[in-house]
């Protein structure tokens, strides 16, 4: 009896907090028919927002993947002064509010900022334009690959790498033939998490974007913009596009997880 009471309580909690609200938005988006929803997400502004989001992801994810793998290698395989500091600094984007990250970027790269004047003199506008938004996206999604690859690197040890090197492989050969194949699921999992975060970032991007519809508006900003303009169908439809991406992420996580063993 107690068992069923616990099960029902847990499932109703999840249902009321997560499943019902998300399901209801899907229902609301298609309330006036599939064609209306389709129209709402194919307006020029919505399409621009979608492609800008894709652009952010296309820049931030490869950069953070390369940085993440290198950083994980350094943190696991080398010891140097300040290692603990670097290790702690990696987690900063998790611990700090996205709004504060956005503010920090403005204070460094904005007008009146540390490098802002110099950049503007050279014709580069970072804040209130796409480069600032890319920086914000990179910042918030930085830790995922590092944090997923580090435990895998620790687990595989260095025996195989040493064997390869004794047999005359160069460092690069060892990395691409031995290390990379061994950590590939960790990297893949990190990439999925990075992508999800980069797609969905709102606070940091919002503060540095200036929110110009059709110019510096990503899909998440578009959801807010449509909602504030009382275009509920537009907001729900764009939210559904983001929701579908989130569900795709969950599927990818589930596909990758078992291959790493029990976590």
């Amino acid at each position: 009896m107690a068992k069923y009471a616990l099960r029902v309580t847990a499932l109703s909690y999840l249902g009321l907090l997560i499943a019902l609200p998300v399901g209801y938005v899907f229902y609301k988006a298609f309330e006036h028919g599939f064609a209306t929803a389709r129209e709402a997400v194919t307006t020029p502004v919505a399409q621009h927002a979608f492609w800008l989001t894709v652009e952010m992801v296309a820049i931030a994810v490869p950069l953070n993947t390369i940085f993440g793998v290198v950083c994980a290698l350094v943190l696991v395989r080398q010891s140097f002064r300040g290692k603990a500091l670097l290790n702690a600094a990696i987690d900063l984007p998790f611990a700090v509010s996205p709004v504060v990250i956005g503010l920090a970027l403005i204070l460094v790269y904005g007008r009146k900022g540390w490098f802002g004047d110099w950049l503007l003199d050279h014709g580069i506008q970072v804040i209130f334009s796409v480069p600032g938004m890319v920086l914000a996206t990179i910042f918030v999604s930085l830790p995922f690959v590092v944090r997923e690859v580090m435990p895998v690197l620790r687990e595989i040890g260095t025996e195989q790498e040493q064997a390869a090197q004794t047999l005359g492989a160069s460092s690069l050969q060892t990395f691409f033939r031995v290390t990379l194949p061994a950590i590939r699921w960790g990297v893949a999992y990190g990439v999925v998490l990075t992508t999800a975060r980069a797609l969905g970032e709102f606070g940091a991007v919002s503060i540095v974007s200036g929110k110009l519809a059709g110019q510096t508006e990503t899909l998440t900003l578009h959801v807010e913009n449509r909602f504030q303009a009382f275009d509920l169908t537009g907001a729900y439809a764009a939210a559904v596009v983001l929701g579908l991406m989130a569900i795709a992420t969950l599927l990818a996580i589930n596909l990758l997880k078992p291959k790493e063993g029990v976590r």
Binding site: L14, V22, Y24
Partner: protein, 233 residues
Amino acid sequence: MAAVVSKSTDGGWAGFSHAVSNPQAVGALKLTIVASFVVVAINAVTGTLVAWVLVRDEFPGKGIVNSLIDLPFALPTIVAGLTLLALYGPRGPVGADLAFTRASVVLALLFVTLPFVVRTVQPVLLELDRDMEQAAESLGATRFTVFRRIILPSLRPAIFAGSALGFARAVGEFGSLVLLTGNIPFKTQAASVFIFSQVESDNAAGAAAVSVVLLAISLVVLLVIGWLSTRSG
């Protein structure tokens, strides 16, 4: 980050304390901290309960429920706020209008922090040795006593760690609050939203000062996590 700290002291120490003691800033910080503690307390109970059901119970569709737990991590926060507003806001089908109330702040934070405690308690529960529980039960302990005296002590470090992560997240949360809470000063305006409004009205020094307070809170929480995890082995 250094720029934020340096900007916060633009007007010297007096400028900093003036910006932080501004009633609206104090109200926002107080709301954020109180709401985060409430959310952490609720999560400690519900998160442990959900993890328990996922590990010890068997029912059809458990795999789907298990992946549902990660949805708040995968779903953009602005969408999270929108979904809660659609269901629990004005004109929502349930007739409970929580929008623009303090309850809505707690609701949004509960949504985005749900996975933390579940995901830290779940693996510990999976590896827990059941011999001790069976021994206690055969010696006549009630199931509640077994839970309180045998299971809970093993779970406690994981519950603390998950709660600390959830707290850090709740303190900085922004996206899910924007649409749902209406951002009313002194009532539903959380610290992150206050910082945002200060940046928009070109008061970067004020925004930086409150940011530094948030950074300090995050730092303390991270230290506590580190301390708890070294203490629990």
